[in-house]
Symmetry: C2
Subunit: 138 residues, 2 copies
Amino acid sequence: MKEIEMFLENKKVRPTAMRILIYKYMAEKEIAVALTDIENAFTKADRTTLYRTLKTFEENGIVHQIDDGTGISKYALCEKGCNCEIEQDLHLHFHCSNCNETVCLTEHKIPHINLPEGYLAADVNLVVKGICEKCGGQ
Amino acid sequence: MKEIEMFLENKKVRPTAMRILIYKYMAEKEIAVALTDIENAFTKADRTTLYRTLKTFEENGIVHQIDDGTGISKYALCEKGCNCEIEQDLHLHFHCSNCNETVCLTEHKIPHINLPEGYLAADVNLVVKGICEKCGGQ
DNA sequence: CAATAAATGCACTTCCATTGCATCATATAA
DNA sequence: TTATATGATGCAATGGAAGTGCATTTATTG
């Protein structure tokens, strides 16, 4: 608990009770979460607070937003080898069409992409859709 | 005109006036279009018709839907080397953050992605964000 | 403790995707 | 050719998610 508090302070984010809880929640989950997920987990809190907490986390490099193709923004902690500020270090995401869960494959970096002459890359998003390990045996 | 008609028939889509016009519109555009774009181009037609036309086209392999990360679905014709049914032939998309246009880079295939044990890929989506050729000189 | 700034909650808006149902057009069978 | 069925189109409405403005509460600092 104290660690989270210190971690948030390091990231220049005031460690309010709500923020600590949300961080804890996301740390316990192995998968990327949507705003709605957090909303369901913290029914007492207001949607806007949760929304703005995620935005604050994102701005301060605590979480990264994931567009997994479902149309719903997901968020995941920037830990375990995720250096999302550095372009070359972008990892890929996997979305399971069975359980509908999205995971960060942090060890799997996006290969270098060649672009046509004149195109300048700033960001790359790679999402693989399929069946995840958990659902594989079905 | 007749060609489009025959093309649609080949794809098992009834070549109505509206559909021919929409196909023509998309063929003339070099970029991926959103439903709203088509709506603005055909103000006489109803949004729903346009929406369902795109869905019909998609189901019959005439267009493919693109998720370029803007949160708005784009569509582009499946021509010029786009075999979107075949997994290995997926091309990548480029979204320009300046002009906000999305293009298919059909010659640029997505490299093979290694996944962890137990994961099964069915589909891959790769979007590069940055500055396009047209906007590069600014 | 007072003053200031930040965080939270509430209400509301907007935008896009999607669906149900009625109506219209077209193709096919009688 | 007409009746019938099937598909296409139009209208209205819904739902979900993102985002914003403002009031209120909470925390920080002097």
